[in-house]
């Protein structure tokens, strides 16, 4: 077992993950940056009990990137830590989103079975859990990620920003205990469609009292990178003044959620 909890404590169940290390041995761990071996950080705040080791990484200065997790033996040798843990627990990743933070730590298992840690600078965002395409609306729901989740109901809006143009559509969102849901009306998107552009993209933001500037909607918790080609939503065709406009939610190359509006024909997705 090798996990990161939501307080950035790396938990290792040693009997499971390291061969040649007994539970009673005092564990010394270090992290070495994959792209710059000179960057090696010794983990000082380590507690071991029985076969379990808890290493607090919360205060460690770690640059963005992937780090090898190393175990230092009595002779000072740095050994890779092998793991049988797949390095992905959806429930734990979801719990991890609940705390405000600027740095995200994830444990990873590489194809050879070595334990690694990925450190990424993050900003608060709105994690999308469900998208439903209706005849006149697109309904999105999800949770606040890395942002404070106030208790009870709060005012919030989804803002659809027309990319590289000035159009905007604002819709009231339901925000309760950090969970949001919103029906985004599609008629205003049809009305503001610029026919001179082949594609009108509308980027989606969640505006909350503590994030007036908006939190970008995206889906990052499930470990799937590159959703643009992997996830496809149905489109809906709406009659405009001159043309019919087809609107379809999609994930961008950064796995952020947007709406794509194009001049559409019947029967085409």
């Amino acid at each position: 077992m090798s996990r990161i909890d939501n307080r950035d404590v790396l938990e290792l169940r040693f009997r499971d993950v390291v061969s040649g290390v007994t539970g009673g041995e005092r564990a010394t761990l270090a992290l070495r940056h994959r792209e710059d071996a000179a960057k090696t950080v010794r983990i000082t705040n380590v507690r071991s009990e029985g076969g379990e080791v808890r290493a607090d990484l919360g205060d460690l200065p770690l640059d963005d990137g992937t780090w090898d997790v190393l175990w230092i033996d009595h002779d000072g040798r740095h050994n890779p830590v092998a793991t049988k843990d797949p390095g992905f627990s959806l429930a734990e990743r979801q719990a991890y989103l609940a705390e405000p933070r600027r740095r995200e730590l994830r444990v990873i298992r590489d194809p050879q079975g070595r334990l690694r840690l990925r450190s990424t600078s993050v900003t608060p965002y709105a994690e999308v859990s469900w998208v439903e395409v209706g005849s006149e609306t697109v309904t999105v729901s999800g949770v606040l990620a890395y942002a404070p989740r106030g208790e009870g109901r709060a005012t919030a809006q989804i803002v659809a920003d027309q990319r590289e143009l000035s159009g905007a559509v604002v819709a009231e969102a339901d925000l309760v205990d950090g969970r949001f849901t919103c029906d985004i009306p599609l008629r205003p998107i049809v009305t503001q469609h610029d026919p001179d552009r082949a594609h009108n993209e509308w980027d989606l933001w969640l505006r909350t009292p503590s994030h007036e500037e908006g939190l970008r909607l995206g889906a990052h918790v499930d470990d799937i990178v590159g959703k643009k080609k992997k996830v496809v939503f149905p489109g809906v065709l709406l009659r405009g003044v001159a043309d019919s406009i087809r609107i379809r939610p999609y994930y961008t190359v950064d796995d952020e959620l947007s709406l794509l509006a194009t001049i559409g024909r019947e029967g085409r997705r």
């Binding site: 092998a82 793991t83 049988k84 843990d85 797949p86 390095g87 992905f88 627990s89 959806l90 429930a91 298992r109 194809p111 050879q112 079975g113 469900w130 998208v131 499930d222 470990d223 799937i224 590159g226 959703k227 080609k229 992997k230 996830v231 496809v232 939503f233 149905p234 997705r269």
Partner: protein, 390 residues
């Protein structure tokens, strides 16, 4: 013992190449093993050559480089003619089985100091049957279904395979088919499953609400049927996901079906992966909706990471690997609703999944490389003894 394995092109990236490399690595622990490729088109093979295994090629078909010239006119003409005794349908499937490579294979067979020579596809097995001198022990490997061969190839197989010293197939169902077709003497024909590549496998926690499917996008995999079955789970348990690891053409059609069926939030087309065991271990169930499976390597890979399998009981493959109710569930072939119910049962029974996960790991040990290698060694020894006795 010196063992030579002949393969059409060891430098490509097919399933046969991967399993041949794997077996060669296992045999190389105690024997001298050489893989001989009829052709070579790149400097380095796609798959990593296992330790202790030698690789060489008989002909260069890549772009001319220093020391490697383009074939002359005579050689080009030979490349257009099938090797003897390769029939037209087999030559159409694999153009490397030509008169140019035949000359090289015959030269190799005349001069080699190997004890055992193995073929890895019908055309090569036929060449061994015709051209190998009596001092060599010849073993044919079968990686494809007998039913998929044309009448001309079947006729050549019937005529020439009996001259081989042994034939090895992947499944018992293949064995039964060849037994009916060739009426071989006892001990000549055996089933030898593919082995799991050695490595440190992860272990599914059975916590993630993820069903996995894997295999190229092809009609035989019947992914539309899997979508239908999964939709029975999806409506009742919206937190469950289906991840399909597949490459190949036809992705657009599948994407449209996913959207049309309202499964966009729950089904993801993951593309290909180089670490299938790693991805399987993130899931809790493997679903197999194939019309037929040649062998079912994915099922064994799922077992190796503690993932039970729900599968159509299609001809070959799954029924020989999955023990129903123990490490997975087999449902009648083509019955989509049964597949859906079986998936639903697994989704809703965490304890059952944990029990099956343990059993799956135990079942996968049968396919460990040292175990399969030992079976090969015993078979080769038996065949040598039988040949000497006659």
């Amino acid at each position: 013992m010196k063992i030579t394995i002949l393969i059409a092109n060891a430098y490509g990236m097919g399933g046969t190449i991967r399993t041949v490399f794997n077996l060669a690595g296992g045999l190389a622990e105690r024997h001298e093993v050489e893989i001989v490729s009829l052709v070579q088109h790149t400097e380095e093979p796609f798959f990593t050559l296992p330790d202790g295994v030698r690789l060489r090629s008989l002909t260069w078909i890549g772009p001319p480089t220093e020391g490697r010239e383009s074939p002359g006119r005579l050689e080009r003409r030979r490349e257009r003619r099938p090797a003897r005794p390769v029939p037209p349908s087999e030559f159409r499937r694999n153009r490397y089985l030509n008169a140019r490579t035949e000359r090289e294979v015959r030269r190799l067979l005349r001069r080699t100091d190997a004890d055992v020579v193995m073929g890895t596809r019908p055309g090569i097995n036929l060449m061994l049957a015709k051209w190998a001198p009596r001092r060599l022990l010849t073993i044919g490997q079968v990686h494809t279904h007998l039913g998929s061969h044309g009448p001309d190839l079947r006729a050549e197989i019937r005529r020439r395979y009996p001259r081989l010293d042994g034939l090895v197939v992947l499944t018992d169902s293949d064995r039964d088919m060849f037994a009916d077709f060739l009426r071989p003497p006892p001990g000549w024909l055996v089933t030898m499953p593919n082995a799991l590549p050695p490595g440190h496998y992860p272990r599914s926690s059975q916590e993630n609400p993820i069903i996995v499917a894997a295999g190229r996008i092809a009609a035989v995999k019947q992914y539309p049927k899997l979508l239908e079955a999964f939709s029975m789970v999806a409506h009742v348990h919206p937190e469950w996901r289906l991840r399909i690891y597949a490459g190949g053409e036809g992705q657009d059609d599948l994407r449209d079906q996913i959207a049309d069926m309202g499964l966009s939030n729950q089904v993801t087309l993951m593309g290909r992966t180089r670490d299938l065991p790693g991805e399987l271990s993130k899931g809790s169930i493997l679903a197999v909706s194939s019309r037929y499976e040649g062998f079912g390597m994915t099922i064994i890979e799922a077992f190796s990471v503690g993932v039970p399998v729900v599968s159509f009981d299609c001809p070959q493959g799954p029924r020989e690997i999955i023990e129903h109710e123990r490490n997975g569930l087999l449902v009648p072939a083509q019955e989509v609703t049964s597949l859906g119910w079986a998936l639903l049962r697994m989704v809703e029974n965490h304890d059952e999944r944990l029990r099956m996960s343990d059993a799956a790991i135990r079942a996968s040990e049968t396919y460990a490389l040292p175990v399969i290698t030992r079976r090969w060694e015993e078979y080769i020894e038996e065949r040598r003894a039988s040949k000497t006795a006659h």
